[in-house]
């Protein structure tokens, strides 16, 4: 096939070359023999052959490389999440701290029974979602190991601000054993750790269909979720309407809870975001001020050069005597 498509192109090149040589010869010498070589028929043939070669090679290229290859089927890849217009992702916007407070409530009442949030200490919540006193009360509800006492025994003490949020399981093995072999991932950095970030987590939480599409094979103990790669996820749908009761009276629909908890998890992954954006605007403000100064200084320094006027006075010609 390749050879077949190459042959006419080689011939075409030859024809074109001959034609070109002969036409130049004619232009140079205008001999009578070359008029025969450049008849309209032969020129048309050359053009047609060149066009055929061009189209043929393009078609051949498309046949070889035009189709994108996928190592995985769409089901294995998972449905890519829709991009939602998250307000806190915008350059000039911060986290909505009321949403963070609601999101923490959802995490604590729903997610925390299986998922740890091991990188977040109680002190990090102070001034972000709750006041100091509220966080102290929450911390004291849990027990932590204290220092060894005089007998060397480790007693339990109520939690303090400096303690981290408690893990639901003693270790990963215990978590697997309790969840049919599947490990619920730690959620501290989950928004950074998944392709699609906030969109993915939101879509995953709200994307459980009522029933799997016809023909889809869902393994024993798994649930169908289009957004999870492979579509079989061990976590069942957990968010249902009115599962939590928000203290600010927001209607607790499934998507509202998912949106709040995703924003909270985004905060957990990027607690520095608000500060980072503030810093970014400081940098932009300062550098633009410095740029303005440099433009004015340049004008000042170049003023004498830019305002200089060069005048050429030609010498007065002498009267010549011939």
């Amino acid at each position: 096939m390749l050879a077949r498509s190459c042959l006419p192109s080689a011939r075409a090149v030859g024809v074109v070359r001959n034609g070109a040589v002969k036409t130049t010869k004619r232009a140079a010498s205008s001999s009578s023999s070359s008029t025969e070589a450049s008849t309209p028929f032969r020129l048309n043939m050359a053009a047609a052959a060149a066009t055929t070669a061009a189209v043929g090679s393009m078609a051949w290229y498309y046949y070889l490389y035009g189709h994108e290859l996928h190592a995985m089927t769409p089901a294995e890849e998972g449905l890519h999440p829709t991009q939602y217009p998250w307000v806190h992702r915008q350059f000039t916007k911060t986290f909505d701290h009321q949403a963070l407070r609601r999101g923490f409530q959802v995490y604590q009442e729903v997610c925390s029974s299986c998922h740890s949030l091991s990188r977040i200490p109680y002190r990090a919540l102070v001034g972000v979602t709750h006041t100091v006193d509220e966080v102290k009360v929450m911390a004291e509800e849990n027990e932590y190991d204290s220092e060894p006492n005089d007998q060397g025994d480790i007693e339990k003490r109520p939690g303090k601000l400096s303690d981290y949020l408690p893990n639901p399981y003693k270790n990963d093995e215990a978590a697997r054993a309790a969840n049919n072999g599947a490990l619920p991932p730690d959620l501290s950095l989950i928004v950074k750790a998944r392709h699609g970030g906030c969109d993915y987590v939101f879509s995953l939480l709200t994307g459980y269909p009522d029933e799997a599409p016809a023909g889809a094979v869902v393994q024993e103990g798994l649930n169908f979720n289009p957004y999870f790669p492979g579509t079989g996820i061990a976590m069942a749908r957990v968010l249902f309407n009115d599962l939590v009761e928000y203290e600010d009276g927001t209607p607790a629909s499934t998507s509202q809870m998912a949106k709040d908890v995703v924003e909270f998890l985004n905060w957990a992954a990027e607690p520095e975001m608000d500060q980072r954006k503030k810093m970014g605007w400081k940098v932009i403000a300062l550098t633009s001020a410095l740029w303005a100064v440099s433009v004015w200084v340049k004008r000042y320094k170049w003023a004498h050069l830019k305002n200089r006027k060069l005048v050429y006075t030609p010498p007065v010609p002498r009267a010549r005597h011939h």
Partner: protein, 138 residues
């Protein structure tokens, strides 16, 4: 970091407007609750004045929260933009479930599933519902 901190400290010390103290959190939920209650009461009053007959039905609806995502996506699936993917999905479901109804299974694709068609439909619906959903959520 140190330089910027000291700089912003200087600016904060010089300017009266830059210090923003957070409100005591304890007071805000109560206030917002009162607001929402007022708003809900206002809505009810309007409803009463408009149509008294549907009052009971609306109260029943208010008890059960409707998920706006599901609502918008159902609307979007019926929309004209998603009609092709919906058509393909339904056709596929019909083909795959034909075996259950006693029709012959296609020999070419005996293990066909509708996951891909479902993906296209779900993508179309969520794409269409995304801006509406964000406008409806808090």
């Amino acid at each position: 970091m140190g330089f910027f901190d000291s700089w912003s400290d200087l600016v904060a010390a010089a300017s009266p407007w830059s210090a923003v103290e957070a409100e005591a959190v304890g007071s805000t939920p109560a206030a917002s609750e009162a607001e929402t209650k007022d708003a809900a009461a206002g809505d009810e009053n309007e409803d009463e004045s408009k149509e008294e007959q549907e009052e009971e039905e609306e109260e029943e609806e208010e008890e059960e929260t409707v998920d706006p995502k599901e609502k918008f996506e159902e609307e979007c699936k019926e929309s004209k933009a998603c009609a092709p993917s919906k058509h393909h999905f339904e056709e596929c479901v019909e083909r795959v479930t034909a075996a259950d109804e006693g029709k012959p299974v296609s020999k070419k694709h005996p293990n066909e599933d509708c996951v891909e068609e479902f993906f296209h439909l779900a993508h179309c619906a969520s794409q269409c519902a995304a801006p509406k959903l964000w406008a409806a959520l808090k």
